[in-house]
Amino acid sequence: MVQSGTSVVGVTVRGLGKAFRGTWALRGVDLDLAPGETLVLFGPNGSGKTTLLKILATLVRPTRGSGVVSGADLVRARDQIRHRVEILSHGSALYEELSPRENLSFAAAIRGDRPAEGAVAAALERVGLGEVADERVRTLSSGMKRRITLARLLLRRVDLWLLDEPYTNLDREATKVLEAALQEHQERGGMAVIATHNFLDGFKLATRLAILARGRLILDEPRGTMTLPAFQELYALRTEGGGR
């Protein structure tokens, strides 16, 4: 058995590869993440960002390579990881006929982490959905649905957040809630991997910057003193010229 939990922290991934239909969606990815770090992953469509997040979430088994998240092995100790990771995917994973409150309670219940009394209401309140907590999701706008998924993210305390294009359908206010929540998450020692196209918002949140192109990690370094224009230039250079 892999060492459990708190003694080993961080994310370590070595030589990760995933083959889909005769091509490599991801190959030879090495990645290290320390507590409090937020890695923002940039890359063109189809570069493997989503695949990487899904592997870290234990949704997809890697074809090659190995990894450890919070001391638990990516392949052998999936259940342990599932208690410590939260993913925000393209799909909302919401049931249209249920209310936001019911959706959140269900999501928490099936993971075996029953939220504290009032936690669901508080999370919904925080994303500004307190008033529609008992409406059916079907009647809500797509922006509101996105906020529900944000509330779901806030419901549990986990080590690692995996956010796939989190800014899609999020308005200004909700983006601010996300940024604040991420800040708290970092301060607790939480880690995050964010995949995005959105340079403006993504850059702001990052403590580390990475570029994925054609399934390979071609850049991974601390943000340091890098400015956004400098990074954009670097990105353009790497993904068009040397990304092959």
Binding site: K54, L59, R61, D79, S89, A93, E102, A109, I110, G112
Partner: protein, 225 residues
């Protein structure tokens, strides 16, 4: 997570969704009524003919509505990628299977009862005496069907050709369940005791049990990426 608790959560959620989305229930009822109406042409006018052909046709109707119900149970999960969240449930995914099977059985038996009642109305049959025996037969037959159906609905849920593939895989596999079920239905409708041919009952029970166990054991493999 405890697998019974997970099963209960899934079941509660599914029944709640079913209760709220009227379209599903309404369409099923309408479709059932239509089927019973069509029986009239298939069976012929005399009561003897009706009695003779009824068990087979009833189960034919149950299968048609059942196939639809099975596909539907996972359509809800597919809609917003809910399946992905379910796959991330830590622990025994067998609970998910159990919840889906119980929910599917509830839906299917309810539909079957509606069909049987309409059948009795349209063909002037007094079904009350038969009912006591018919209900357990319906339940037993349905359990076997749903045990396999849930598994294949999960398999085909994210395939493009699911509408074709689900019946294609499911129907040959449920034949051993359908044979005893329709035979027992025949007995029940004729007002005879099910104990008259106990081997059918035993056979059906064994099939149900084996398919449930196999489904429970293999379901987690189906749910993996």
């Amino acid at each position: 997570m405890n697998f019974l608790a997970l099963a209960a959560e899934i079941l509660r959620k599914d029944l709640r969704i079913e209760a709220r989305s009227r379209e599903g229930v309404n369409t099923l009822l309408f479709f059932s009524a239509l089927l019973v109406f069509l029986f009239r042409f298939a069976l012929g006018p005399t009561e003897a003919q009706v009695r003779q052909g009824a068990p087979g046709l009833l189960w034919f109707a149950f299968i048609l509505t059942g196939l639809w119900g099975m596909a539907r149970a996972f359509q809800v999960e597919r809609e917003n990628d809910c399946l992905e969240a379910l796959r991330l449930v830590p622990g025994d995914l067998g609970g998910l299977y159990l919840g889906k099977v119980v929910g599917g059985c509830c839906m299917m038996v309810a539909t079957e009862l509606a069909i049987v009642v309409m059948f009795g109305l349209f063909f002037h049959l007094d079904l009350w005496p038969a009912g006591v025996r018919l209900v357990p037969v319906l339940i037993l037959g349905t359990v076997g069907f749903v045990a396999i159906g849930t598994l294949f609905a999960a398999i085909t849920a994210h395939l493009k050709a699911r509408e074709v593939l689900l019946p294609l895989l499911l129907l040959p596999l449920v034949i051993p369940v359908l044979l005893p079920a329709s035979r027992l239905t025949e007995l029940a409708l004729a007002g005879e005791s099910l104990g008259a041919e106990p081997h059918w009952l035993r056979l059906l029970l064994v099939f149900d049990l084996v398919f449930l166990v196999l489904g429970y054991l293999t379901f987690p493999f189906v749910m993996e990426d």
